[in-house]
Symmetry: C3
């Protein structure tokens, strides 16, 4: 099923509309191309409705947020909702500032994304406004992460995908854990943003947001492991990561996947 999704992405080359942060635009566009999708980055209020209308998924990322971009995200997201195009929200740095937390909550409330993908701190901030985060990093117990993700999935009525040493993907009380990945991934900027972009690509070819989100995290984790095997440090890791994403084989996936379903 995961491998079928990859083949579908390669064959149909879905257009993924990204309204994302400046830091990762290049790397997420390249990751989408490497997996076989077609990225488009556009944020002008004058054109986002048309771009979203051409796309098979919309990815919203608040990493370098500013007011005109929020307006664009709302316009694009409403068009996506109207056309039943799936939306991914990446609440980067949520909890670090009131502006980010408020914006993420507003986007969730008004756009009803199919998947929210963040780290444990960001997910925590979305269910309790009292939490403090240190920028974009996080440290939480597995139980806390699970409880937060379940709470947010219920509250927002969507899939919640939490990246960490073990990724957790939750829809209501259904849980999927993925134990792939490599510590070098935390030494490269935008790996989480790439996970969100790939989630958009999988949503474009898979009707189940839970499966799509899990498949994206599985691909991230396995590609991360294979890239880390060849890498000397974070510079060569980035290069190998794109090469691996581009060349993924069915064997790469089946031999390495560490997935566990529960509820």
């Amino acid at each position: 099923m995961l491998w079928q999704d990859i083949l579908k992405i390669r064959k149909s080359s879905p257009l993924i509309h990204n309204i994302t942060n400046y830091v990762v635009m290049n790397t997420t566009a390249n990751a989408l191309l490497a997996i076989g999708a077609s990225p488009v980055m556009a944020h002008a209020a004058e054109e986002v409705v048309e771009i979203t209308g051409l796309a098979q998924a919309l990815v919203l990322n608040i990493g370098t947020l500013s007011t005109p971009w929020i307006e664009a995200m709302l316009k694009a997201g409403k068009e996506a909702h109207r056309r039943r195009i799936p939306v991914v929200l990446d609440p980067v740095g949520c909890g670090a500032t009131q502006f980010r937390t408020d914006t993420a909550q507003k986007l969730i409330h008004e756009l009803r994304p199919a998947v929210i993908r963040g780290n444990a701190s960001e997910i925590r901030a979305l269910i309790s406004s009292g939490a403090a985060t240190k920028g974009v990093d996080s440290l939480h117990t597995p139980d806390e992460v699970r409880n937060d993700a379940i709470a947010l999935s219920h509250a927002a009525g969507c899939v919640v995908s939490v990246s960490g040493s073990i990724d957790l993907i939750v829809e209501g009380n259904q849980l999927i854990r993925i134990a792939n990945g490599h510590p070098l991934m935390t030494k490269v900027t935008g790996m989480g943003c790439t996970a969100s972009a790939l989630t958009g690509a999988f949503l474009a070819v898979n009707e189940s947001p839970l499966s799509a989100a899990a498949h994206a995290m599985a691909v991230m984790g396995i590609a991360g492991e294979l890239a880390a095997e060849r890498a000397v440090g974070p510079g060569s890791f980035q290069m190998h990561f794109l090469d691996v994403l581009y060349g993924l084989s069915e064997t790469d996936m089946t031999q390495n996947l560490k997935i566990r379903y529960s509820c």
Copy 2:
């Protein structure tokens, strides 16, 4: 003549003013440095006139367009026109939205660029507002591409450079075809934008916009082939592409160039 242009760029290190999209700023700056030019990225209305005044070419790229950037492009372009500094226009995603098509047409009308460089869909959109494009990709027959390019060259009074599996560079009824390049180039974001930036560098040292545009596409194609020989996938391709651009020799060019002139 192509090799002479490369030597001139390396020797004179022309300053190329880029008002371009967020996705490719880093990669196009690095490509300009690798070929021997000096890139400058600046978009504030307060300073673009001064920056353009220092430059030997101006490259306008509408990839992540917004209203303040259009104003900057117009200001910079008018200064370039006044000082006879050549302008390249890259109409990224033109045809995908009315905003992009209108903006590209306005820029052509008001600034009279020396070269318009795009893919077949973008060129098509500039001569017929009824065409639909799927984001930034395209599929057209060679005859359609040729007819569109000739029509736009006549209508806009400038060189039209169309990238594709065979690049086509047109001025009026003069045609140059370049059959260099590699499919991996379509798996890396911003290769078209890099072609436009390099077109700016060649315009800075060659008075013929037709030759300059063709030389830029030849360098792109040959560097792409040499990089692809060494690459495992799109990640390593990007690295080798910059290394190859930096180290291009006369033999690299003469042994690999596949160019055909006609009218």
Copy 3:
């Protein structure tokens, strides 16, 4: 002492708030991660005060300046001043336009940075508004560079760090010269911006701005040399540079450091 600073950065992972230019956001974030720091990029007036309040250093870079970003820099800088968080200013392209020169001078006057880090042309422009620069490049005699740096250090009451074939770091009449580095560093965009970002990381763990600025330049120069040994051109240089930064050992530093103190 230099090695101790690197260990402190790796251990405490200081949060570095960057309000920087679009071209280098990705590469400077990755360089900060590779040395062991935590980068955050944020520029919205609504949130910069909160972000700076979480950070251990603030890095301001005027590379792709526009009016809303100046407002953000002033807000963030005033919060940094209030909380005694050290500020680095990188006056990219200063002297090329009145807008950049005026903005850099205003930022120095209002924010009193701990370190100003630029190239010789940019430093010159800050002490005499009559100088002309060719974009971001420079050519000055060693004596001119020294006199300019001393003059600016006295006038601005801060450390001045001038990158060049020999880096010069000045506080009042104290001078440190670092003869590390490699010509390939000038063929990659944003190496100066990376130097400024790393200066922020060292300021976060070292109370002496003079030492912090010198340590950042020493790390840049040595990592540049080691990366160049392995590189074919500017593409592979970038990859190796991040790998080297990530893997720096005490021996790398002690065996390669070329530093000279004088007054």
